[in-house]
Amino acid sequence: MHAIEAEALCKRFGRTQALDGLDLAVRQGEVHGFLGPNGAGKSTTIRALLGQIRLDSGQATIFGLNCWKQSVQAHRRLTYVPGDVALWPGLSGGSCIDILGRLQGGNLDPKRRADLIERFELDPTKRTRTYSKGNRQKVALVAALSVDADLYLFDEPTSGLDPLMEHVFQQCVRELKADGRTVLLSSHILSEVEALCDRVSIVRGGRMVREGTLADLRSHTLTTVTAITGSPVPRLAGLDGVVDLTAEQQPDGVHTRFRVDHTDLASAVGQVAAADPTALTVEPPSLDELFLTNFRADTPVSQGTPA
């Protein structure tokens, strides 16, 4: 049984199709990155998982519990950090942490609470109205991390945090992972995702466009090859996986440049090697490029996938 299983989620708000057949599967014990451009449907998916919105169609479960009908049972096993933390004005940050913990059922472990407040350098006596965005985020993080849950839903949890606090957060997630907890981490910060996540899902336009380990995703994007050879490299254009091929005659030889998918990489580089290159570089796709390829709305969903 997966921690989260969502199939063909659809939700329309007026004229906007927020979710358009989105699938998501999060295995127990993994840290799952949830990525996508603004407005892709990440927060809507999390709100559907929390039973805050009623799906037009599709099925979402958390530990096998229906997210809409059995939301209370599901909530016993999870805790949540919203992307835009709204705290009760007039109360202190410490009070908010306690209240959120008590609504979860039972008091928070005082040692864990104190420890987290210290690690996140939070002043719990300040009124919530006087907190900055980062400090509100810290209150929500301390409240969520103080709870002993099986599943942690984080919706852009580190927006507004400074790099030091971001580091503290990453440590906390690693501890959760070591403890066998499941984490769904919605984020824009690629380094954070790369550092923490076992697997990632990329959504765009309310649909899942890519899902797998980072190594998997890398293998679906194109490697850039540049070479300088004495004479033009033959038969490159005939290879299926080669795109963006350019060849220019310059004083030091023919400059060839192309991009190729990973299945045709070996044969393409073989052709170049046979042409006796004086220089040859093979650049793997950077993570940024990976996301740019998948995020850009005008790139068709199938691009970069082997034919």
Partner: protein, 519 residues
């Protein structure tokens, strides 16, 4: 002042309904009253009769202020409208001043606006210009309406202008309060407290006939005497200078304080929540406690003051030939309905606060815990209905204490409580209507104010405005009957209670089935 005109344009574009709506509402009130008074008092003999009886049965000077030139149509109009203008005109002024200054700042929109090339005082000045525009529109529309209805032109201009000036005085008070308080909510509480103090002070001065009208802006509206042969100038000077001074002080405060801050810096709170705060009901109770206590104090003061004035009124009524018991019952049935309307207003305001909790995302956040929607909703409904009951009891007790203190006779102690509680089913029905609206969508709660607004009209003005029977029946209070003067309508009370229960159950179902607005 750099950026002033651009910011005025922003205010006008973000809230045209507020600016225009309130002016139109006041104008509609003036128009309907003016036309019905022209019909009812068409002959000079009728007007003379009105003036003669009014001197004898000044049963409501406390509620409607002093009347002048009661043998003219305009004088009757100004006097009869005093019931509502003394309440709504100042409240509109206070509301708009806060709405266009502190509320904008509270939501953080001001931070974006002031990042542009704008003068430090431009946002507040522009916001108050928008608020003042409503006062100007109120005057213009009302003057046009009165002149169209063939009221004398100078008097119409003076009366309509007086309404605008009166609103402007309270816009100034609201501006000052909004600059001093750190958030919109505190501003509203303080502003309403200011209005209440001045309203009650005027009520005492007018009921006792004391010569202290220069003291209080609430008295100045009547003191304009727009339809007199030689209207005095001093109320105008008083209103103009009060408005100028409050605007000036507000400007000084605005120029010297930090953006987003008030005059008093926030105090640190406890590092931990008190141990009793652990269920949704207790959390909501704690969060609403300040505002609810404000309502209790305000309405109790109101109830006591009017209860106390009952003796004065019955002395005046005795001159007109009423027996003391009849007079007390007639007066009480008016005052206890005011108690009920205040309790209903409080519960609608609480419902609006609960709805705002949802749109702010806090309900969704709290409900990510294993707390069911039904439990959260039940806590909210329980809170609102409980407070309306508490308010009815408190105001009922205070009305009784006031009556007993006024007469120096403890025999009157139980009258007010029983009569006020007779309206409990009606108050609960209005309360549950707000709850049902919220269960459909949080934005709809404001519609419930129509019940209170119409309730005031039916309670105070139905006869004067010739409101037809079916329209009176739109106010739940009317179904109960005018207790204690009339008998309590038991079947109606029972039906309303049952209706409230059914609606409350329907609201739970509706809330469980819809999307949360944010979170």
């Amino acid at each position: 002042m750099t950026g002033y005109w651009r910011l005025v344009a922003v205010s006008l574009r973000t809230a045209p309904a507020q600016i225009l709506g309130w002016a139109v509402a006041v104008c509609a009130l003036v128009t309907t009253s003016a036309s019905s008074i022209s019909n009812n008092y068409a002959e000079q003999a009728e007007r003379d009769a009105y003036a003669a009886t009014y001197v004898g049965t000044q049963s409501s000077a406390a509620l409607q202020g002093r009347g002048y030139n009661l043998d003219t149509l305009g004088g009757i109009l100004a006097n009869e409208l005093g019931y509502l203008t003394l309440i709504i005109v100042p409240l509109i002024g206070l509301h708009l001043a806060i709405r266009f200054t502190r509320s904008v700042e509270d939501t953080g929109r001001l931070d974006i606006l002031t990042a542009g090339p704008v003068h430090r005082l431009a946002p507040a000045t522009a916001g108050l210009t928008a608020a003042a525009l409503t006062a100007a529109l109120t005057s213009t529309l009302s003057a046009a309406a009165l002149i169209t209805l063939d009221y004398p032109v100078p008097g119409s201009l003076l009366y309509a202008g007086g309404l605008g000036a009166f609103m402007l005085v309270f816009t100034g008070v609201g501006a000052l309060v909004a600059q001093c308080c750190r958030d919109a909510r505190t501003s509203y509480v303080l502003a309403i407290a200011c209005w209440m103090v001045s309203y009650l002070a005027r009520a005492v001065v007018d009921a006792r006939g004391a010569d202290l009208t220069w003291l209080n802006p609430q008295s100045w509206l009547a003191e304009i005497r727009p339809f007199a042969d030689q209207p005095p100038l001093w109320p105008w000077l008083a209103m103009a200078s009060t408005a100028a001074v409050t605007f000036l002080i507000a400007g000084v405060v605005a120029a010297h304080r930090d953006q987003g801050a008030g005059l008093i810096p926030p105090r640190p709170g406890p590092a931990q929540a008190p141990s009793w705060m652990r269920t949704p009901l207790r959390l909501l109770t704690r969060l609403s406690l300040g505002v609810c206590l404000g309502w209790v104090i305000g309405t109790s003061l109101f109830a006591f003051s009017f209860g106390y004035l009952t003796e004065q009124i019955s002395v005046l009524n005795a001159l007109a030939g009423f027996t003391q018991d009849d007079s007390v019952d007639a007066t009480l049935s008016l005052f206890v309905q005011m108690n009920a309307l205040l309790a209903a207003a409080a519960s609608i305001q609480l419902s609006q606060w609960l709805a705002a909790e949802e749109t702010a995302g806090r309900v969704g956040y709290a409900l990510a815990s294993p707390v069911s929607r039904r439990r959260w909703w039940g806590a909210g409904t329980w809170l609102v209905t409980s407070w309306s009951l508490i308010l009815l009891i408190c105001t009922g007790v205070c009305t009784s204490l006031g009556v007993a203190a006024g007469f120096g006779d403890l025999g009157y102690l139980d009258d007010g409580v029983a009569a006020t509680l007779a309206y409990l089913p009606a108050v609960w029905l209005i309360t549950v209507a707000a709850v049902v609206l919220q269960s459909v969508t949080p934005r709809a709660v404001a519609v419930a104010w129509l019940f209170v607004g119409w309730g005031i009209v039916v309670c105070l003005r139905a006869d004067m405005l010739d409101v037809p029977e079916w329209a009176r029946r739109l106010s739940p209070l009317y179904w109960v009957g005018a207790v204690p003067r009339d008998d309590w309508d038991r079947p109606a009370a029972l039906a309303m209670t049952a209706g409230a229960l059914v609606l409350a159950a329907a609201a739970v179902v509706a809330f469980q089935r819809r999307d949360l607005r944010a979170g």
